[in-house]
């Protein structure tokens, strides 16, 4: 998918963008300056680093490897990249990062991705199919279950594909809203859970009444039908459906200028 093709600027690279670029930019915009953000690797890390370079210079990035308030010059390739330690205010042990920093609920935003997400925002990164005889064995939990449980709110960044946006996940690795609006409280989870799922097509948010994810924004140039075609449940559309603002040149230049550690080697 590409952006607008305004005839005036059709040849300008800043008038076109990929769906992944739109997704990263939309996700970056959702972070506010000064927030403390516990960052998963991959799409969330890209978006968080983008926010740091755009409107949120005081965003506090925390990775599960124990790097507190890190400002990597390049994107880390893994959660424990040396570049995270080099630029951190402090590096603490892995038990400490989970017990003292994540668990008490002092982190504003948990920034996650996943292989599957369901209509209540539950995330699966463990197996597709049955646990004991899976169709696909995925990496597993990592830090995600407790990030999803403990952060004040959770933002999910995932590519919108029919196999990923399912009625019910095959395995609940990380709890979103369980099976409905009261489930997090019943489970003793203190954070608010997923407040926003940002995809390459638009934005889903839990309905305040049902906790089911509904479409609240379409990215520039995307239709509701496109989103429904990639969603495995009867997707409801918000009465206040928004259109995501197109990426501005600064956003596009910044996202395109970010390099991943070691990417020059291949």
């Amino acid at each position: 998918m590409t952006g607008t093709t305004d005839p005036v600027s059709a040849t300008d690279p800043l008038s076109r963008w990929s769906a992944d670029e739109m997704m990263s930019i939309a996700a970056a915009r959702s972070l506010r300056d000064g927030q403390a953000c516990f960052v998963g690797i991959g799409l969330p890390s890209t978006a968080a680093n983008l926010a740091l370079r755009l409107h949120a210079p005081n965003l506090v990035l925390i990775y599960e490897s124990g790097t507190l308030e890190t400002r990597p010059e390049e994107l880390p390739l893994s959660i424990g990249d040396g570049i995270l330690a080099d630029s951190a205010l402090s590096v603490v042990s892995v038990p400490e990062i989970f017990n003292y920093w994540l668990q008490p609920g002092r982190i504003d935003v948990g920034f996650l991705s996943g292989a599957q997400i369901d209509r209540f925002g539950n995330i699966n990164t463990t197996v597709i199919g049955e646990y004991d005889e899976p169709d696909v064995r995925l990496p597993g939990s990592g830090g995600a279950p407790e990030i999803a449980a403990s952060c004040r709110e959770v933002i999910v960044v995932m590519r919108h594909r029919l196999r990923a946006f399912v009625e019910q996940v095959d395995f609940v690795t990380s709890v979103g809203h369980g099976n409905g609006p009261m489930d997090r409280q019943l489970l003793g989870l203190r954070g608010a859970g997923p407040v926003r799922v940002i995809t390459d097509l638009g934005v889903l948010e839990p309905d305040p009444e049902t906790a089911e994810l509904v479409l609240t924004a379409l990215h520039h140039g995307v239709t509701v039908e496109q989103v429904r075609a990639e969603t495995g449940w009867q997707l409801q559309v918000s009465a206040d459906l928004m259109i995501t603002a197109a990426p501005n040149p600064t956003e596009l230049e910044t996202v395109r200028g970010m390099r991943t550690v070691g990417s020059g080697e291949s």
Binding site: I41, E64, S65, G66, T67, L77, S78, I79, G80, D81, G82, L84, A85, S90, V91, S93, V94, P95, F98, N99, L102, Q103, T126, Y131, P134, R137, P139, G140, S141, G142, G143, A144, P145, E146, A149, S150, F171, V172, T173, S174, V175, G178, D183, R184, L187, G188, L189, R190, V261, G262, E265, S266
Partner: protein, 267 residues
């Protein structure tokens, strides 16, 4: 009290068939050289414990060393899947592989309990997830003051823990820095422990953020220059990202893996 010995000697002395073995290092300082020596010495029936079983455990599993894997995230970071682990799980090649799966917070706290001489640890975790129905080392416990129910995980006390560090002094005190992960806990939780190091120095000049493992909590220290490659040793060498990407092709194919294994065993 740590003896400074060769790596083959250390592995021979400390790692036995059937042992529960933890090789720790969170992306950084992964003890690859020690893992390769375990493969060369042909250990069998190991319970391999590691928060992030990446290439090193894919290699040990593919080589047939493992009977069980205890872990919380099994992938090739930044690249994709662990194909030898997947193959062992799906087809039992070259040996059937049992798994015991946790979250990172759960695994970290299991080491903390082990290092602390406690039989379990308490955490806010697992509630509402599907892991507890598959993992018997997850339970719950009630707070005696508030009545709140919290998750409990069983302590991990490996028979032997292996870590890699930047350096040791001649007395066998070991120093590591950068991302220090869960290595202190993994060593202190273990019945026996081995640290491989980049070098041995006269004095361990203090370094910001460093963890020091006193010689008297270690059994052996072995010099293994570049012993964490293709992962990295902060201040010594960088991660060999190309090697991680290349592993994907090697590990996808049993034949390619077997050739890799013969090269290792002949080294």
């Amino acid at each position: 009290m740590a003896k400074i010995v060769s790596l083959p000697q250390a592995v021979s002395d400390l790692v036995h068939d059937g042992d529960t073995v933890a090789l720790e290092g969170f992306t950084h300082l992964i003890p690859f050289a020690a893992g390769h020596e375990i493969i060369r010495q042909g250990r069998r029936g190991l319970t391999l414990v590691r928060m992030t079983p990446d290439l090193i455990y894919d290699q040990l599993i593919g080589a047939g060393c493992a009977a069980k894997l205890v872990f919380s995230w099994g992938g090739n970071p930044g690249v994709g899947s662990l194909h030898r682990m997947r193959d062992a799980l799906a087809t039992g090649w070259p040996a059937p592989l049992e798994i015991e799966e946790h979250s990172h917070a759960g695994m970290a706290n299991r080491y903390v309990a082990g290092a602390s001489g406690l039989p379990f640890a308490v955490l806010r975790g697992y509630a509402g997830t599907d892991l507890p129905t598959h993992t018997s080392t997850i339970s719950t416990v009630e707070c005696p003051f508030t009545g709140e129910r919290l998750a409990a995980v069983a302590a991990l006390n490996p028979d032997v823990t292996v870590v890699h560090a930047q350096r040791a002094d001649r007395a066998g005190n070991v120093q590591l820095w950068g991302i220090t992960g869960v290595q202190k806990e993994a060593v202190l939780a273990a019945r026996r422990s081995l640290a491989t190091v980049e070098e041995i120095v006269d004095d361990l000049t203090p370094v910001p953020g460093a963890v020091v493992l006193p010689a008297w909590v270690l059994d052996a220290v072995a010099v293994a220059p570049r012993g964490a490659a293709p992962s990295y040793a902060h201040g010594y060498y960088d991660r060999d990202n190309a090697a991680y990407r290349e592993w994907d092709a090697i590990s996808r194919d049993r034949e390619a893996f077997s050739r890799w294994l013969r090269t290792l065993e002949d080294a």
